[in-house]
Symmetry: C2
Subunit: 338 residues, 2 copies
Amino acid sequence: MKMLINEPNQVVDEMLEGYAAAFPRHVTILPQNKRSLVRAGAMRPGKVGIVTGGGSGHEPAFMGLIGKGMADGVAVGNVFASPPPDPILEATRAVHGGAGILYLYTNYAGDCMNFDMAAELAGLENIRVATVRVTDDVASAPKEQPDKRRGIAGSFFVYKAAGAAADQYLPLEEVVRVAEKAKDSVRTMGVALSPCYMPQTGQPSFVLDEDEMEIGLGIHGEPGVRRGKLGTADEVSAILFQSVLDDMPLQAGDRAAVLVNGMGATPLMQLFIVYRNIAGLLESQGIQVHQSFVGEYVTSLEMGGCSVSIMKLDDELAGLIDHPAETAFFAHRQGDAS
Amino acid sequence: MKMLINEPNQVVDEMLEGYAAAFPRHVTILPQNKRSLVRAGAMRPGKVGIVTGGGSGHEPAFMGLIGKGMADGVAVGNVFASPPPDPILEATRAVHGGAGILYLYTNYAGDCMNFDMAAELAGLENIRVATVRVTDDVASAPKEQPDKRRGIAGSFFVYKAAGAAADQYLPLEEVVRVAEKAKDSVRTMGVALSPCYMPQTGQPSFVLDEDEMEIGLGIHGEPGVRRGKLGTADEVSAILFQSVLDDMPLQAGDRAAVLVNGMGATPLMQLFIVYRNIAGLLESQGIQVHQSFVGEYVTSLEMGGCSVSIMKLDDELAGLIDHPAETAFFAHRQGDAS
């Protein structure tokens, strides 16, 4: 796999330098570990700070989440590896405005361990930290074991809701309640068509035959739930849709937010063809789409494929999804096109 | 190449249906040809309408350009093929607010022919149409023949400037002047690492060896200026930067806007590594970056590679680049992160 990189071991640091250089009005690299980004002009006194993070290779996640109405700080790990506690703690201190901090991240063992250690260290500095882990990936564990599920692209909706709550200066307990509610309301199912390649080794994350797809991909190449012959966009998207629907209590008359997320190399043209079918399936079930999002939100380098995330909305969640937000990669204004 | 599509001949229509379904607050498909999109709530009386278009396969261009402060209407052709005059004319009528229309598009023979025919037909309906063709691709013809040059990702800056001028209700002559000035101030150079695959045939647009790159790619697989062994990101980006700089009068003390554009399959991580070097090269030349953009703006399906566009700014162009704009794919607010 050809790559536009320099030293393979420098890809993350050079990416961060490029990101901070490109968007100085949005983000600043913190000096101590050089592996945390915070909002430029960061800390807002009295606002709950939202800190996230995770491995690199999922861009625009997670650094692209930094912005008003979204996350305040991000700790950046190596490719597909959790950041250690130090940059998490550094980001925590930088965005602490006296109202406590929410650690909001996707549920992987390494991230859990490192964020928990950072939370303990923050506690010693009298910074109150709460934790919510996103577990939207229905393919990663059975419905009866939701805490074993991983977090993937549907996490975007949880960041959006919690970020909006914090932006409205709700107290930490309320931001946590919103994040938990958002987390419980979203499910994701993905499909991989082709692997990504690790910058350090050039090796593919998995191997698929020329006519094969893998349903239920993990965003680091984790095994899915089944392999099969690649079908049409309508067939594949119907499988993803049904897997999500089987897992959540969504019925006629409900409102939903939808995200069709590209894994990296799949053209937008194909994502819109997928969205077209998802929209039709939702309509046929009498479910109203309140907001939809199509594009690359959580990628796996140059993996081919996509995921479908659906969030069930009540009035509160709908309002939070509609709340204005702006990062270097995502902007949303209420009534924006009117 | 595996693709998430249904009937290969339906990819464009299904993509448009998906796009309009996903972003109903942004766009509407016009009913007659079903190949034009206009801003939802389209026509603003007294505002110059900006109509663009081109072949599909470059998403988010061109449909992603529709929005306040950018384009008003877009005619959508088949993959890598110009739209015929009919959808161009239909978009023209729909966005005509009495102040005339600017046809602003990238310079390809098919587009020139079809937009010119549409302009003639619009004239018969007493709609005043002016035309500006973007020619930012320095690889496509020598400096002495600027009108033979193609338009690629740098066109984004021309849409941004002209869209801002029209949003400020400048008269048609002024919008044309701004578009011409913007066009003359921007240059682009690209590199391809891997081809894209036509949905209808599954065939690659070109073939490169496993260690090869092509400098000066065309966004439809047109031949570049030279092939060579792929270097590091710093080496490759330095070649792109120098090619642009050799072609434009940019010197110490000047201000510039910069776009590092991904061709489709190249991860954002790599685009930021490229941007990092471009920013360093600009700084070393004493050129100040006023605004920078990194992401996928004009793609070629799943082609691998990127392009670097630089626009020289004076106060007028800087103000137009800073002017608020919002499409389904791009949002920009003055002082947005303050």
